[in-house]
């Protein structure tokens, strides 16, 4: 199944690997291929700014050509879920504004995750967007998030919540609809977590895996012979600094190759390397465009 035509891309990875930037880049890439895209974040809102647009609270907002963005938030999602279930605005309001009720709902395991995921998957079902991208919370939490429908199906007695969990689970495990995208870094901890995540997602949770996106990748730039020439020690301070920077660059490039090989050997998935960028300021639209081009070239 070509990556491009899946309807739901869940972008996962441990904290700090660049999931949000990759989600934004994936959104631009899919939009350029002519798809109408919705990109969603959980509890935070960074993607509109990354794409050079204004975020608009918790409403769906256009942030780039053919790209809409939304920040999922538990209270808002709960309100929508309640509206759908109860068909009475008055009842919804009196329910959700009741302190006891909101405390009570807070005790139901994973209810916030379920309603947020429910809202997102509902967007997938409507067909209003061709591709929906979820910037999932960091690894442990990301899997917890995706595991919610299944966990609820296994633990909660049949009823309103259970039937929600059932259709959501069916969509999540459908390889024609869903792809779990694994963002990682050329670092020990990140790669280990990716392998664990892939094993758990692809195994126990039966989630269809998409591709591996190896972020902040550094290609080799100096030959071994050049590096040893630069070992000599120089009178010039600037050259000494340059030699040190070059050595560190090659060390990093070697690590990149090592982790890339390890990922390729361990996971039978397409692997895209995304270059380390050095804008000298916070990432913005130009960096996201550069990464989108790389994803496109690899597709």
């Amino acid at each position: 199944m070509p990556q491009l035509w899946r309807r739901l891309h869940v972008v996962t990875g441990k904290g700090g690997v660049g999931k949000t930037t990759v989600s934004a880049a994936l959104a631009l890439h899919l939009a350029r291929a002519g798809r109408r895209v919705l990109v969603a974040e959980v509890r935070v809102q960074q993607i509109p700014r990354l794409l050079g647009a204004q975020g608009r609270g918790y409403e769906i907002a256009r942030v780039a050509e053919r790209v809409d963005a939304i920040a999922l938030e538990p209270r808002e999602a709960m309100r929508e879920y309640a509206r759908m279930r109860l068909h009475s605005k008055l009842l919804v309001r009196s329910l959700l504004e009741n302190r006891l009720v909101s405390a009570f709902l807070g005790f139901i395991p994973s209810l916030p995750e379920l309603v947020m995921l429910g809202k997102l998957l509902h967007c997938v079902r409507t067909g209003e967007w061709d591709s929906v991208i979820l910037d999932a919370p960091a690894t442990g939490h990301g899997l917890t998030f995706l595991g919610v429908p299944r966990a609820l199906r296994d633990t909660i007695p049949p009823g309103a919540l259970r039937s929600e969990a059932d259709w959501m689970q069916a969509l999540l495990v459908d390889p024609a609809a869903t792809a779990i995208e694994l963002v990682t870094l050329p670092e020990e901890l990140a790669v280990n977590e990716t392998l664990e995540l892939a094993e758990k997602a692809g195994g126990e949770l039966e989630l269809p895996l998409g591709r591996v996106l190896l972020n902040r990748h550094v290609p080799p730039r100096f030959s071994d012979e050049e590096i040893s020439r630069l070992e000599a020690g120089f009178a010039s301070e600037r050259l000494e600094a340059a030699a040190r920077a070059a050595r560190e660059h090659e060390l990093r490039a070697r690590l990149c190759r090592h982790y890339e090989e390890r990922l390729r050997a361990s996971l039978p998935l397409p692997l895209v390397t995304l270059p380390m960028l050095h804008p000298g300021r916070s990432f913005g639209r130009a960096e996201v465009e550069a990464l989108a081009e790389r994803i496109e070239a690899a597709a």
Partner: protein, 374 residues
């Protein structure tokens, strides 16, 4: 002795907090190592260390068991323990619940919410374990590596949420027995109570409501014990026996999170000994201006190195230096903003090393920066 080490090691408890993926475990292990090198009997309590770091510390598995780390040159002792949070919760229920209710609680599905998914519950049980080990007086310095926290408030707010859970008056004492007895819609809420209860059951299903209610009744007796203990844990963390180390990287998002975390800790009356900026990109040029490819070409020739290759070596060196400087400059700007926002809490920087940190030798290297005298 560095300023940070004299401040930290006058304390008995050091809690490392911060966002996920910033290197908290490494910093926690380094602090305990330094304490041992200075002659203390120290222990680091970690949650989920990278496999290789765990191996370096001799930690084979989870299990709340203290393991001594061999350090031939240390005057003190270094110990490590990997916390099993689920087990710590079970032990807590063992201690506080009436024996006849124990099994019913541990088997209730909602116990899982309490012990794992309720925001802050993992953080709380980790500090609870810290309290217990501190009370055992086996160690002079205890360093806690906390679970990655999504929201700064989760950490300090956890006991309140758990108390809400355990002792929610109307839910626990009014609704629950009524539901369990099957008498739906009693006058539990003053107005429109029946509609509300029915509304909730339409959201979640009646069975879910009933099971939660049953759990709240069963777990009720642990309320007072938890409340008393939580107050003691908090008092200990706010006392002059404890200090926090706030760990971050120089990236924008973790820096924002660190600023928010700092504010929450200070407002709660906690002492933040320092902000540790980890994996900061170094600028090997220091204050020197960035050389052009032509300047580097001249210098290569002068030092007898051929400026060969395609593109020429000088160009690739200039590019590498430029990238290095861009990364370092961005980090420096973020860290200045951080320093200004957490003033007067001191900031300590640990550079990014070209390779990963996962053995004792590398931890010593981190210690050299964390506790440098300058």
């Amino acid at each position: 002795m560095s300023a940070l080490s004299s401040k930290l090691f006058a304390r008995e408890l050091i809690v490392c907090v911060g966002a996920g993926g910033v290197g908290k475990t490494t910093v926690a292990a380094t602090v305990a190592l330094q304490a041992a090198l200075l002659g203390k009997r120290a222990i680091v309590l970690t949650i989920d260390p990278a496999r290789r770091l765990a191996n370096a510390l001799g930690l084979q598995q989870l299990g709340n068991r203290a393991t001594r780390v061999e350090l031939p040159d240390a005057r003190g002792e270094l110990w490590a323990m990997m916390l099993d949070l689920k087990r710590s919760w079970d032990e807590f229920i063992d201690r506080t619940a009436p024996p006849e209710r124990r099994d019913a609680i541990l088997q209730n599905r909602f116990y899982r919410t309490l012990s794992s998914t309720l925001a802050g519950s993992q953080e709380y049980i980790a500090t609870e374990k810290l309290y217990e080990l501190h009370a055992s007086r086996q160690w002079e310095v205890l360093v806690l590596d906390t679970p990655p926290t999504q929201n700064a408030l989760d950490f300090l707010d956890a006991p309140r949420r758990i108390l809400d859970f355990l002792g929610n008056e109307p839910l626990g004492r009014l609704i629950a027995p009524a539901l369990v007895a099957g008498r739906f819609g009693l006058r539990l809420f003053q107005k429109g109570g029946k509609a509300i209860l029915e509304g909730v059951s339409r959201l979640t299903g009646v069975e879910t409501l009933e099971e939660l209610a049953r759990f709240l009744v069963e777990v009720q007796p642990t309320y007072d014990a938890f409340k008393e203990r939580a107050a003691k844990v908090r008092d200990l963390l706010a006392s002059d026996r404890a200090a926090f180390l706030l760990v971050t990287t120089a990236h924008g998002t973790p820096v924002e999170e660190a600023i928010a975390f700092h504010r929450v800790l200070i407002e709660a009356g906690m002492d933040v000994a320092a902000v540790v900026a980890n994996r900061v990109h170094p600028d090997h040029l220091g204050a020197l201006p960035l050389p052009s490819p032509e300047e580097l070409a001249d210098e290569l020739v002068r030092e007898g190195v051929a400026d060969s290759g395609l593109p020429p070596l000088s160009e690739r060196l200039a590019q590498t230096l430029g990238e290095m400087r861009a990364l370092a400059a961005l980090d420096a700007r973020n860290l200045e903003r951080l320093a200004a926002s957490v003033h007067p809490t001191p900031q300590v920087r640990v550079p990014r090393f070209p390779t990963d940190v996962y053995d004792l030798a590398a931890l010593r290297m981190v210690a050299g920066h964390l506790f440098s005298r300058s």
